[in-house]
Amino acid sequence: MHIDLRTVSIKPLRQTFDHVARRIGADKPASRYQEGSFDLQATTNFHYRPTWDPDHKLFDASRSAIRMADWYAFRDPRQFYYGAYTLARAKQQDAAEANFDFVESRQLADALPDELKAQALALLLPLRHVAWGGNTNNAAICAYGYGTTFTQPCIFHALDHLGIAQYLTRIGLLFGDTEALAEAKRAWLEDERWQGLRRYVEDSFVIKDPFELYVAQNVALDGLLYALVYETLVDDVLATRGGTTLALLTQFMTEWFAETRKWVDATLKTAAAESAENKAQLEKWLRLWGERAAAALLPIARIVPDLDSDAVMSDVVQQFNARLAKAGLSL
């Protein structure tokens, strides 16, 4: 049955803003992502050079070696504007909260074998600081990148990293207490196993080119780290050794990685497809940061005992390279 509800119908003068219509090719209804993102960043007639970077305009595509005829060629396949983003995260947060509740109410943290618990803390808690680095770097890409469809997802990504650091903190407080956090921070600062990674993160803090930073942080480091730690070590290895509780508590990270990877891949693909020069530049960065990230992560993989860490790492790298190949990049 069809129910014929009526509203007073008035013919609109136009369907969307003109600058949006130019981008979607016609005056037709536009999505909230499109209206909320296209051309929001100023591109011309700037008033003052930034006192903190007088060699550039306030927003300046030449901060990057990547060249785009149109930076709005970048699109977020998730179509995240603020509203869509927060709704998606709130849903995941609900699930995470339920998982934490489940673990807490059944005291599953105490049920975890001590040895496994110690491994989990040693592996996961220093990653709070890595996530904090991801927060810092994505703030930089958002601030110094060019074009809203490229920079907007980075503020979401920055706060996601903070959220992940906070979930890891909760895991630390649930399995141990503040001493566990302090111990992990000592490891981050002093333990030999973590120094390669800490050096990587600190070196990334001084990268000036926002796209290189994107490659170093969002592509190379996160691409390898999330695949190694959450998808492999937690979900495959520790889970089968009695650590399903852990997998429950890191579900947010696993799902987040699967989701954000789509956006990261789309960004890479668009930049690489633009020109041979871009492709070559991206491959150069990927070799540099990809190799460094893999080398820095190997000692982290070794935290989990009774495991052929070299083989695990090489699997992760192989999958990573296959992922890049799909984006049009060969290493």
């Binding site: 007639n45 920055a158 503040t178």
Partner: protein, 517 residues
């Protein structure tokens, strides 16, 4: 069980600390000054970032939860408002012009705030302020987008909204708000947080944000009103951040006091000048008025601000400069601005009009010292001229102030019949100003302000014509070319409200929606 018993229970502050600043560490592979290269050049001295008191304690899980709930409600109302042709419920179609100013002049500032806070949130060496700034950066893109989405439906039915991003970078009067924010974001991170976080968000927000949102509520604009109410709790967070930032900077070193004082002087005056647009909107553009500009200034600045500056006196901070002039100006600026826009209605993306007799009486009651004496005769004269078919449109270009970029429309303190002009020489060039405040701001940073992209200068230099324009061609009409450069549709976006397409359509559609004719 044992373990739980021995676990130390964290209080809220300790827990938030573990969730935020404890994530940071002292780097050793790179130098601090390379990681935070912009932390010292402004001369602000910070000895201990640990002294930063978190202005609010919101972890990301709670943030997502609360904000998503607000978004759900807001978009449900935006959708219902659009579906039910809510735009036909506004008091009268003149109101739409107020929200054209909001979308073209303010919404892009929300976006700039988003980028500016991302910059500040990257650059402060303290983890506490970084987290707070990044959360604000995220909120600010929310505000830009919820405004766009709330006003998107108006764009479908009315003129003047359709090119807001393009116009923001080009149209003469929009350079007032744009240059204000460019000024803030091009400053260092400390000046940025004092300018936007403190001076703008804390001191002046009630004079910017509240008039638009209350104006919407008073005039039946549920879309804009709902956005405003939904943003209220974000704004409260932003205000606490601004206040904490300034107290923290002042407490860190006595040498910071004169630096901050100069910024407070500068940004109160810069902000006050931008608010001229709001003053005009409140007194002339809202069919149902909330209060007069003068009353708003008295309540929100003189009373609230007075208490604030009393509180800051213990740090050695005095109230901002030039308040005596502002106190005299409050009887005048809204009228002077409206008269100017009435003149230049050819080149603006909104309509102007002569207030009705009843509205003039309201203005006379609210401005007993100025309206009948100085402004009513002007408006009545223009009304008379328009009735005779001589609606006056000024086709020349006004001189702009080098600092605030507002046309020279303000009068001498103490003499509302004489336009105020100031000038300064710098490196062999002469620069012009609307006031002592704008002149002093220039003289403190001449290298910055000589860069200003002044719309009138740019037009005269031929930089505001569409590409391919030949100004030497026979019959070249420079004004028409400038309007094309603005993407302003002459005859639809501009001119008097009387006889406009907006006026006609609104009347016809309201008739269609409320009668059976």
């Amino acid at each position: 069980m044992d373990m739980q018993a021995t676990k130390k229970k964290l209080n809220l502050k300790e827990k938030y600390r573990a969730m935020t600043r404890d994530l940071d560490w002292n780097p050793s592979y790179q130098k601090l000054e390379d990681i935070y290269p912009y932390a010292s050049y402004e001369g602000v001295k910070i000895h201990d970032w640990e002294k930063w008191e978190d202005p609010f304690r919101l972890t990301m899980d709670a943030y997502w939860k609360y904000q998503a709930e607000k978004e759900r409600k807001l978009y449900a109302i935006i959708d219902a408002y659009a579906q039910n042709n809510g735009h036909l419920n506004v008091t009268d179609a003149r109101y739409l012009n107020a929200i054209k100013i909001l979308l073209t002049g303010v919404t892009p500032l929300e976006y700039m705030a988003h980028r500016g806070f991302a910059h500040a949130g990257r650059q402060f060496p303290g983890a506490g302020p970084r987290v707070a700034c990044l959360m604000q950066s995220l909120d600010e893109i929310r505000h830009a987008q919820t405004q766009i989405h709330s006003l998107s439906n108006y764009n479908k039915f009315y003129n003047g909204f359709h090119e807001f991003t393009h116009m923001f970078e080009r149209v003469w009067f929009l350079s007032v708000s744009r240059s204000f924010f460019d000024d803030a974001v091009s400053a260092g991170p400390f000046e940025f947080i004092v300018s936007i976080g403190f001076s703008f968000e804390y001191v002046l927000t009630n004079l910017l944000f509240v008039p638009f949102v209350s104006g919407a509520a008073y005039n039946g604009d549920m879309g804009t009103m709902t956005f405003g109410f939904s943003a209220q709790s974000d704004e409260a967070r932003h205000m606490t951040l601004g206040l904490e930032a300034i107290k923290f900077i002042l407490e860190q070193d006595p040498a910071n006091v004169p630096i901050v004082q100069r910024w407070i002087d500068k940004w109160t005056w810069r902000g006050y000048r931008v608010l001229t647009l709001v003053a005009m909107m409140m007194d002339y553009m809202l069919p149902k008025r909330i209060m007069s500009w003068k009353e708003a200034w008295e309540v929100y600045f003189e009373e609230n601000g007075g208490a604030l500056f009393k509180d800051l006196a213990r740090y050695g901070i005095r109230p901002p400069k030039w308040l005596d002039q502002i106190a005299q100006d409050k009887d005048h600026i809204s009228h002077q601005a409206w008269c100017t826009f009435y003149n230049y209605a050819l080149a603006a993306n909104f309509h102007t009009w002569i207030p009705s007799e009843e509205e003039m009486d309201w203005l006379a009651r609210k401005y007993p010292n100025s309206f009948d004496k100085y402004y009513r005769p002007r408006l009545e004269y223009w009304r008379e001229q328009a009735a005779q078919g001589n609606r006056f449109y000024n086709k020349t270009l006004p001189m702009l102030c080098q600092t605030c970029q507002i046309p020279m429309l303000f009068t001498e303190p103490g003499d509302p019949t004489k336009i105020c002009y100031r000038e300064a020489d710098y490196k062999g060039e002469k620069y012009h100003f609307c006031s002592d405040g704008c002149k002093e701001i220039f003289e403190n940073e001449p290298e910055k302000y000589i860069q200003a992209w002044l719309p009138v200068h740019q037009v005269y230099q031929g930089n505001c014509f569409p590409e391919g324009t030949d100004p030497t061609a026979e019959g070249f009409d420079p004004l028409a070319a400038v309007l094309r450069y603005y993407h302003l549709e002459s005859g639809r976006d501009n001119l008097d409200f009387e006889g406009s397409e907006d006026q006609r359509n609104f009347a016809a559609w309201r008739g269609q929606a409320t009668t059976n004719a």
